[in-house]
C-alpha cells in the first residue's frame, strides 16, 4: 500500500505542470527548479547552438540562461507558456553575448580553411541530394554557415535565428526581444540580403578559382 502510495506520489510529481513547479520554486522549494531545467535543457541547448557553434560557449550560455531564469522567475507571468518565456531569456542572453563580442563582419572569402574550401567546392558542383546528405555529416558546413551568420549584426542574427530555426512570427520575435515589428521586418530583410550577398561572393570566388 505504501509502495503504491509512493508510486502514486511519484506519478503525480511526474505530471506536475510548469506552473506548479514555478509556484514551488517561488515558495522557497528551489529544488523544483532542477526539474524545470531538466525539462527544457535540450531546447535551451539547441537554441544556444543556433547562435554559437562553440560547444563550451553553448554550455556556458545555457547555464547562464537558467541562472537568469531562476533569478527572474518572480517576473514570469502565467499568461504565456513558460517555454516561451524561457526562450525569450535564452535569446536575450545570446543576444547580449553577441553584442558583448561586437564582432565585426568578417572577410569570409579570404580566410577559408581547407575543409571549408572543400565544402564550398562540393556545394558548387554536387547535386542537391548530395549536398544535403554531405551537410549532415560535415562539421565544416556548419562552421562556414556560422561564419555567414557572423557577418550579420547581432540584431539581424538574432532575428534570423528566431525566424528560421524557431519559426517565430514577426510579432513573436518583436515580443521576445522587445523590439518593434517594423524593426524586425526591416532587419530580417536586410539580414537575408547580407547573407545572400556573402554566399554569392563565396560561390563566385570558388568559380573564379575553378576557371583559373
Amino acid at each position: 500500500m505504501l509502495a503504491l502510495a509512493t508510486r502514486m506520489g511519484l506519478g503525480s510529481q511526474a505530471v506536475r505542470t510548469d506552473e506548479e513547479l514555478i509556484a514551488e520554486v517561488l515558495a522557497g522549494q528551489t529544488a523544483a527548479f532542477a526539474e524545470l531545467a531538466s525539462r527544457y535543457r535540450d531546447k535551451v541547448d539547441r537554441l544556444c547552438q543556433r547562435f554559437f557553434s562553440d560547444r563550451e560557449m553553448v554550455r556556458d550560455l545555457a547555464q547562464e540562461s537558467f541562472i537568469r531564469a531562476f533569478a527572474g522567475l518572480s517576473t514570469y507571468r502565467a499568461e504565456m507558456p513558460f517555454g516561451g518565456w524561457l526562450r525569450a531569456v535564452v535569446a536575450n542572453v545570446c543576444y547580449d553575448e553577441l553584442r558583448r563580442r561586437q564582432r565585426k563582419p568578417e572577410e569570409l572569402v579570404a580566410d577559408f580553411a581547407a575543409a571549408e574550401y572543400n565544402w564550398v567546392q562540393l556545394v558548387s558542383e554536387a547535386t542537391p541530394e548530395e549536398i544535403v546528405g554531405a551537410a549532415e555529416q560535415r562539421q565544416e558546413a556548419h562552421d562556414l554557415a556560422h561564419r555567414l551568420l557572423d557577418a550579420l549584426r547581432p540584431e539581424d542574427r538574432t532575428i534570423m535565428i528566431l525566424k528560421e530555426t524557431e519559426e517565430l512570427s514577426v510579432s513573436e520575435i518583436a515580443q521576445t526581444m522587445g523590439w518593434s515589428e517594423a524593426k524586425v521586418k526591416i532587419r530580417a530583410f536586410r539580414a537575408r540580403q547580407v547573407m545572400r550577398k556573402h554566399a554569392e561572393r563565396i560561390l563566385a570566388a570558388r568559380r573564379a578559382q575553378a576557371v583559373r
Binding site: R46, R50, R55, L149
Partner: protein, 171 residues
C-alpha cells in the same frame, strides 16, 4: 514544379520533409533551371546553421573532413576540470588586467624611487611660490633661477670668462 514552388520548398527539401515524389520533382526542376539551382546553392551555404539539426540533436558526432582524412569532431571539454570557453575568456581578461596592473605598479614604484633618490633640488617652482623673500631672491640669481635644477646643469652667465662664449658675443 515551377520556380515559385521550388523556391518555397528549399527548407523542406533540406530537412528531408518532402515526400519522395515531390523530392524527385524538386531535384528535376533544379536540374533544368540554372537560376533555382544557383539559389539553392546559395541557400545551402547558410542552411546548416539555420535548418540542420544541431549537435544537441545529432549527439555531436559530426565530422571534419579535410583531404582524405575523416576526423570525428571530439568534444571540446574532456575532463570538465579546467575552466574553458567563456569562463576561460573571463579568466584571460582578468589575467590581462592583472598583468597591466603589475606593469603600472612597477613603473610607478620605479618612478617614485628615481624621484626621491635624485640629488637635485625638487619642487623648485613650489618653493618659489611659497618660500621666503630671501629664497625668492635666490631664484633670481643666475645659479638659482627656476629651471636650472630641472635641466641638471649649472647655469652660466654667457658673458662670464668661464663660459667661453665671449667670442660668440663679440660680434
Amino acid at each position: 514544379m515551377n520556380c515559385f514552388e521550388a523556391r518555397k520548398e528549399f527548407v523542406a527539401f533540406w530537412r528531408r520533409q518532402m515526400p519522395p515524389l515531390a523530392r524527385a520533382a524538386f531535384s528535376e526542376h533544379l536540374g533544368g533551371c540554372p537560376r533555382c539551382d544557383h539559389s539553392f546553392r546559395v541557400f545551402a551555404l547558410s542552411a546548416p546553421a539555420l535548418h540542420s539539426e544541431t549537435d544537441a540533436e545529432t549527439g555531436g558526432a559530426r565530422a571534419h573532413r579535410s583531404g582524405g582524412l575523416h576526423v570525428v569532431a571530439a568534444p571540446a571539454h574532456r575532463d570538465g576540470s579546467a575552466p574553458t570557453g567563456r569562463r576561460r575568456a573571463k579568466l584571460d581578461r582578468l589575467f590581462s588586467w592583472r598583468d597591466a596592473g603589475a606593469v603600472i605598479a612597477v613603473a610607478t614604484a620605479a618612478s617614485l624611487a628615481l624621484y626621491f633618490a635624485s640629488a637635485t633640488p625638487r619642487a623648485v617652482f613650489e618653493d618659489a611660490l611659497t618660500g621666503s623673500a630671501s629664497e625668492l631672491a635666490n631664484y633670481n640669481t643666475p645659479t638659482g633661477v627656476f629651471g636650472q635644477e630641472l635641466l641638471g646643469s649649472e647655469l652660466q652667465d654667457p658673458l662670464s670668462p668661464e663660459s667661453g662664449l665671449q667670442d660668440d658675443f663679440a660680434g
